[in-house]
């Protein structure tokens, strides 16, 4: 029933293949360097490129890892194959084209030819509008589906969970921040 544990565990390695767009603060328009975008089985390179960029704009690398660091879009690709409903799959696969036509309508240019700042602004506006609109179908719904999945995947990754302790061994109900950090570090290593 779907992705086996073996395949999923192996995505950690594959994920790195698609990271050429992540974490480059000074990057401007997306360079469609298709040779860098590998390891995907459902997304074609153009789709993967846009989704990698969108995920990176949503959750950029700061002092903590971003969606690009956590292999989020590669994992999303795996979900399309084994997990997603036909409706979600259509939403996600259709999203880059919709985004592009939205960009053309709003600012008169293709999404990928915009500067990073302009792409972020466009996405941020869309983010506000999508949630303000509630549960309306269409482009907003596709955006919400994508966002929900990107956030879930990123925030369940190991890099995004520095406080996760598999076996705490005890429960303490009242500790300081320093004690908490020490307990976590002690239990994790």
């Amino acid at each position: 029933m779907g992705v086996t544990r073996r395949i999923l565990l192996s995505t950690g390695g594959l994920a790195l293949a698609g990271l050429s767009l992540s974490g480059c603060e000074n990057r401007d328009a997306i360079e469609l360097d298709l040779s860098d975008v590998t390891g995907f089985s459902v997304f074609d390179r153009a789709t993967a490129t846009i989704l990698l960029d969108v995920a990176d704009l949503m959750i950029p690398r700061t002092d903590t890892p971003g969606a690009g660091d956590t292999g989020t879009v590669l994992y999303l690709d795996q979900l399309m194959d084994h997990w997603a409903s036909a409706a979600s799959r259509a939403e996600i696969l259709g999203f880059p084209a919709q985004l592009d036509s939205h960009a053309r309508q709003s600012v008169g240019r293709a999404f990928r030819s915009l500067s990073r700042q302009a792409r972020f602004r466009l996405l941020e506006d869309m983010d506000q509008a999508s949630f303000a609109e509630g549960e309306r179908p269409g482009f907003s719904a596709a955006y919400r589906t994508l966002k929900r999945l990107v956030f879930h995947i990123h925030y369940t990754s190991e890099a995004a969970n520095p406080d996760y302790v598999a076996v705490p061994g005890q429960y303490l109900g009242d500790v300081s921040a320093a004690e908490f950090r020490a307990l976590v570090d002690d239990a994790r290593f």
């Binding site: 029933m1 779907g2 992705v3 086996t4 544990r5 999923l8 565990l9 704009l57 949503m58 959750i59 950029p60 700061t62 903590t64 971003g66 084994h82 997990w83 997603a84 409903s85 036909a86 409706a87 972020f120 996405l123 941020e124 983010d127 506000q128 999508s130 303000a132 919400r144 966002k147 929900r148 999945l149 990107v150 956030f151 879930h152 995947i153 925030y155 369940t156 990754s157 190991e158 995004a160 969970n161 406080d163 996760y164 302790v165 598999a166 076996v167 705490p168 061994g169 005890q170 429960y171 303490l172 109900g173 009242d174 500790v175 300081s176 921040a177 004690e179 908490f180 307990l183 976590v184």
Partner: protein, 570 residues
């Protein structure tokens, strides 16, 4: 072909495991018949060691199930709809049941060795004297033929073996037991509890009592059970055996006597009755895979398939002598179905503890037991308690609200304030016309008529829901919470019976064979060697989680049955 045993137990879940243990330990050759698959303990199906990033689909149930119409009710239940535990829950597409279209019923099942003892939330409270007196006092349902004192020694017995953590709180209607060390309240709960306990005469906030081993005593260590590691992954199965389940505790205890036989993949369809001897002679099983029928016989039969399933089996055990189902001369079989109900609660912020944290994942919460018994100044009888807890988390990683980019990410990495939340657990009255019946035309894959549930709450429960919302706000205000928000299901919205997974009734205990199905020993009035000790036997539903009471009733009934057997009375 018919194989013979001293005793047969139908169902290996919470109550069936206890029946098997107690019967085997008294020297009876005992057969457990379980419709689900075999599970080892620890089982390869347990997922307790999987970190969030190791989980298949990161814990998300495949969306394709929606397209296939699978697990609709489990999805509706919400918090249990997780991919890493879905193997322990039943898909009603494979195992259908029915209800009137405008009154859906939620029947959350676990068909495997150990039943729902694998997935329960382990909250374990004795019922108090008032719970057993309630039917007699206000006239709803049939009077319990026992009182708290009848059960008290059996609560002692099951608590010591299962291992229940808790504090001795000294409350009138929530009796203390022989507890293991309690979990500690976190700092926010500590503040709230002090404030609540100071503000009210009648309302007490205590630490939740639960079946997790905060200490390992000899009785637990002998079975290979280890101490709880505060992971709160219990619902995934615990490789340490640190919470009580049939797999970690009762079935291994039964096994070591050498008296236990377990047959899994064995769907019990009916119990066969001999009118001449007034005895149940055989249990008929349909093989889960081959659908081949088999018969087993024994001197006594314990029915522990869970409340609804046990009533269904009895209703399906029709004979010339008992055309309306086995043990149903009263006509009450399948009546008085109950469940606890929620549908009101509140939460609020506790301030001043921004620099305090908790470490570990405590597998229990807090409890505010029912404080509304026997009050004259309210629009309903009985009452409700609250369960909940306080926690703080990173401000939230949800992709279901606005916000993207570095700034939003930074704010998501901040710790949220402490938030205390409480939700009601209301006592539903026993209504004779809240029923389970056999569907007149539809059968399952094993040829058994579907269970058809027709249940709804009435004005008494609606009044409680309204009151509980007010009380929740009052309690959180007294606790010192800020920004309190409350929720309540509106009066005109259907309240799904079964939502709390505490189904009770269907074969109620009572004094009188004309108005009840079972006597004070959980023995069928009509059938001497038949005992029903799961939730079906409950004459009312109280407000506290019921499983500990099923365990105590089971151990008590076995003790009685075996004594009768030895005296030649069965």
């Amino acid at each position: 072909m018919s194989e013979e045993f001293d005793a047969i137990v139908i169902g290996s879940g919470m109550s069936g495991g206890w029946a098997a243990k107690e019967l085997c330990e008294r020297g009876l050759k005992t057969l457990v018949l379980e419709r689900g698959r075999h599970l080892d303990h620890p089982s390869p199906e347990y997922t307790d060691f999987e970190a969030p990033w190791d989980m298949e689909f990161r814990g998300m149930v495949p969306e394709i199930y929606d397209e296939q119409g699978r697990y609709r009710m489990l999805k509706r239940k919400g918090w249990t709809y997780r991919n890493e535990i879905i193997q322990f829950f039943v898909d009603e597409r494979d195992h259908p049941y029915s209800y009137p279209e405008d009154r859906p019923f939620m029947w959350t099942r676990g068909y495997q060795l150990g039943g729902r003892s694998l997935t329960w939330a382990r909250q374990t409270y004795r019922w108090g004297p008032k719970d057993f007196e309630a039917n007699a006092r206000d006239g709803h349902g049939v009077d319990w033929p026992i009182r708290y004192d009848d059960l008290a020694p059996w609560y002692d017995h099951v608590e010591a073996f299962a291992g229940i953590s808790g504090a001795s709180d000294g409350l009138e209607n929530l009796p203390d037991g022989e507890f293991l060390r309690p979990w500690e309240m976190n700092c926010a709960e500590g503040v709230a509890a002090r404030n609540i306990n100071r503000s009210f005469e009648d309302r007490r906030m205590i630490i939740g009592r639960g079946a997790n081993l905060t200490e390992v005593r000899d009785v637990h260590a002998e079975l290979g059970r280890g101490a709880c590691q505060a992971r709160d992954h219990c619902i995934r199965g615990c490789s340490y055996g640190a919470y009580f389940s049939s797999l970690s505790a009762t079935l291994p205890a039964a096994q070591r006597t050498g008296n236990l036989t377990v047959e899994t993949d064995s769907v019990v369809s009916e119990i066969i009755y001999d009118p001449l001897t007034r005895r149940a002679t055989h249990v008929k099983v349909v093989d889960y895979h081959t659908r081949e029928e088999r018969l087993y016989s024994a001197r006594i039969i314990f029915l522990n398939a869970s409340a609804i399933a046990s009533a269904q089996i009895l209703l399906n055990s029709r004979s010339e002598a008992m055309p309306n189902g086995l043990a149903n001369t009263s006509g009450q079989l399948g009546n008085y179905i109950m469940d606890h109900f929620g549908h009101a609660g509140a939460n609020g912020r506790i301030e001043g503890l921004e620099d305090r944290f908790d470490f570990g994942r405590r597998p229990t919460g807090i409890y505010i037991p029912n404080y509304r018994h026997e009050r004259e100044d309210q629009a309903f009888v009985r009452g409700f308690g609250f369960q909940g807890g306080a926690n703080r988390q990173r401000a939230g990683h949800t992709g279901s609200r606005p916000g993207i980019g570095a700034e939003s990410k930074a704010s998501m990495d901040q710790w949220s304030p402490w938030v205390l939340g409480i939700g009601m657990f209301g006592e539903m009255l026993p209504y004779a016309d809240n029923t389970i019946r056999l569907h007149p035309t539809r059968t399952d894959n094993w040829g058994i008529p579907l269970a058809h549930m027709d249940c709804h709450i009435r004005e008494n429960e609606r009044a409680m829901i309204r009151q509980a919302e007010q009380d929740a706000v009052e309690i959180l205000t007294a606790a010192g919470c800020k920004d309190i928000s409350s929720v309540r299901t509106p009066d005109d919205e259907h309240v799904l019976v079964g939502g709390k997974t505490h189904e009770m009734g269907g074969a109620c205990m009572g004094h009188d064979p004309a108005t009840s199905v079972l006597n004070r020993w959980n023995q069928a009035h009509d059938v001497d060697n038949l005992f029903v000790t799961d939730g079906a036997c409950m004459s009312s539903c109280g407000t506290a989680n019921p499983s500990l009471t099923y365990m105590a009733l089971t151990a008590r009934a076995v003790d009685h049955a075996v004594q009768r057997l030895q005296e030649g009375g069965l």
